[in-house]
Symmetry: C2
Subunit: 349 residues, 2 copies
């Protein structure tokens, strides 16, 4: 089937580019001897996760247990969930998962560690727990090496758990100093830090500059989007993910309305102006959305589209967009090759 | 089951409030003799659509054919799709739908009308088509009464179609003058305008002030959210929809991290500051999100939550949030009564 026969809005994955992106990062991380543990929250598709593992990834990263369950069901054997798992229902699911795959998680508080320990003990599991540290994102994570070392000791003496190392996001100039200071604090206890998990697609080609980092988590590198383009980590010809939409209205000479809005593209601007890059009209300004309509100003374009014309949009943030689609269509040179179910979509728990 | 036993993040519908909201708007519209045609894009749940119809709605509004198909499958008999339906795959589905339910649609261009006419003719359907007009939203819609009248005439003489009236969103001070002028232009042709469909939850209690409006489409009135609260159309005790989350991290004395981010709440700010109102901590500032984390500043609160504590969030925009959940849980006085599948979620086509 030709790509033009697909009804819109439709999410497209260019398979040649996807494969190239996966291979390119793997080769780079192999070369700089950093373990590759891609974050599957970008695509949420077990088939792509398998491609990543077969290309050399040591395992995958999931952000929620529900995503990890889907990936485990599909045969992925090594999963990292860099999240504070809190509450009995989730702890039970987590330990069930730990009995099926090689699982590791993170914690940034004694509260989280206590819950993990009690649940692991009950199931007879030994779960590696990494300490999450904050190097400037101001999300989760302990704030100082002293706290990291203290929590590492707590994990090490907690039944059912073992200290698994350190984790942060993203890697920056604070990463190495934080790790070195924590190492120095743990040395007297005879505790080493074997695994330091960093991440982030925008900075992926600088992974080797963080000497302490042993493992890298990138997600968006597989697809690419406007944010990744802005970072320079991928170029336009690398972007493997886009949304084809149809112009359904031309109410004025300047304005065109697409058949996709915030339910298609999400409202996540990631600090960018506008809601997407229209490949056929790069000077167009996708300036507003409602749920099912995208408002585009074509006044700076040399020509403007007719009603019924299809346009291809690179979204701002591919991860949140793929979460809005039940399926993506894999294409190669304009021909439809396959349809993938976004099997881990909407797994909020 | 008690509401506190539900794992988080979970979408909650307070059934008493939902029922009260549905009844209250129906009574008001009955009183002012305006037909009620609620927009189901807010909830996307056939069971709630049936409640709305049983309470007196003349039918429902859907924004995409996929939503309408779900509602038709569930037994809803009268559906309005105020959208320019463009392209062969959609036109075929639309005409199939027209053979099953009492269907009407809109158009704002000859292009859309030509497509509808050809498809309707082929199926032997007579489809009412309303002309969409723009009274300031700058989305779709013809710009002037002269254009509206011209398109109405085009529809009237198009085989397979009949002129169904006018449609706009939202109702404002331009609505009545536009309709009156269009009526005057059509009078010489002996054409009347029987149906004028307006809408919008924020302005719903002023529906009667738009003398020309015969039908009202409100969606958010059933649930309510922070935007509706801002408009004053509902009060805090009316809001029937919220998300329960868990505090999973307290990295600093001020900051707390919720287990829901942009994949739970969407990034739709609808012009509001912050991403939701936390009922237990009304002075907290939900200032940032990543996909699975919500960052909250509790520094202006008299007390701050512990890790593991559950907090209830009223989102900014209920429609886009309900699209992120596969299910919602219906509760009454703190007890779980039912689970509804968000059956029309993710219907982008």
């Amino acid at each position: 089937m030709d790509i033009h026969a697909l009804d819109t809005p439709v999410a497209i994955v260019d398979l040649d580019r996807l494969e190239a992106n996966i291979v390119k990062l793997q080769h780079y991380l192999d070369e700089v001897r950093i373990a590759n543990r891609p974050h599957v929250k970008t695509h949420k598709i077990p088939e792509i996760a398998h491609m990543q593992v077969q290309t050399g990834a040591v395992g995958i990263t999931c952000q929620k247990i529900g995503e990890a369950e889907v990936m485990a069901d599909a045969g992925i054997k090594d999963i990292f969930i860099p999240y504070n798992i809190v509450g009995q229902p989730k702890l039970e699911r987590l330990m069930h998962l730990a009995q099926r795959v090689n699982l590791s998680v993170t914690a940034d508080s004694e509260f989280t560690v206590r819950g993990l320990s009690a649940a692991a003990q009950q199931k007879g599991v030994e779960l590696p727990v990494l300490v999450e540290f904050d190097t400037g994102m101001r999300r989760c994570g302990v704030q100082a090496p002293r706290e990291a070392a203290e929590l590492a000791r707590t994990i090490a003496r907690s039944p059912g758990l073992c200290f698994g190392g350190l984790m942060t996001y993203p890697c920056n100039e604070n990463t190495d100093p934080f790790v070195r200071q924590t190492k120095a604090l743990l040395e007297p206890d005879g505790m080493g830090i074997d695994r330091v998990s960093g991440g982030g697609t925008p900075g992926m080609w600088q992974a080797h500059t963080h000497a302490q980092v042993t493992e890298y988590r990138a997600g968006m590198y597989a697809y690419g989007d406007r944010r990744v383009l802005r970072s320079g980590a991928l170029q336009l010809d690398d972007v493997a993910f886009n949304i084809i939409t149809t112009v359904v209205s031309r109410p004025t000479a300047e304005r065109g309305i697409l058949d996709g809005g915030s339910k298609t593209f999400s409202s996540d601007t990631v600090g960018l102006e506008g809601y997407g890059l229209i490949l056929e009209y790069p000077d167009a300004h996708f300036y507003a959305m409602s749920e099912e309509h995208g408002n585009v100003d074509f006044s700076h374009c040399s020509r403007t589209p007719e009603i019924g014309e299809r346009v291809t949009v690179i979204p701002n943030h591919c991860c949140v967009v793929s979460n809005l689609f039940d399926q993506v269509v894999g294409v190669r040179q304009g021909k439809v090759e396959l349809t993938w179910s976004v099997a881990a979509r909407g797994k909020l728990k």
